[in-house]
Symmetry: C2
Subunit: 80 residues, 2 copies
């Protein structure tokens, strides 16, 4: 089973990488970009067919290791 | 218009972050995870309604600044 985890900073927290990149895009002439935010993605391959159990297990992994729930939101999706 | 860019290392290239994370997951008892890969995601907000033109412009941004086409693949999706 393939799982994708999208991890983003919570709304309202500063995103210096996004701010810097947006400035760089504007310097390159891409004026139509009004906001830029960064996130990270983790792709897991897991044994088993029970998507409910896998999603619950991945949520535990996120809270314990993969994400920082204090400043990040994460979204788990079974993709294959 | 909201755009999501998924950037991943090309297949076959080493992913030390993924290897280390997988080992950590196994040390924590998550034995069902057979592969772990990392990617990054960039979310853009852009002016205009022409999704074709926007996608082409974002592809140019990726080649010029956002991704490293030598070692990374990227996928552009209009999400809103």
């Amino acid at each position: 089973m393939k799982i994708r985890i999208d991890i983003r900073r919570k709304e309202g927290l500063s995103d210096p990488e996004g701010v810097t990149t947006q400035r760089a895009l504007q310097n390159l002439g891409y004026d139509g970009v009004t906001a830029t935010h960064f996130g990270r993605t983790i792709y897991l391959e897991m044994e088993g067919d029970d998507t409910g159990a896998a999603t619950a297990e991945v949520e535990a992994m996120c809270r314990q290791l993969l994400a920082n729930p204090v400043i990040e939101d994460f979204q788990i999706e079974v993709v294959g």
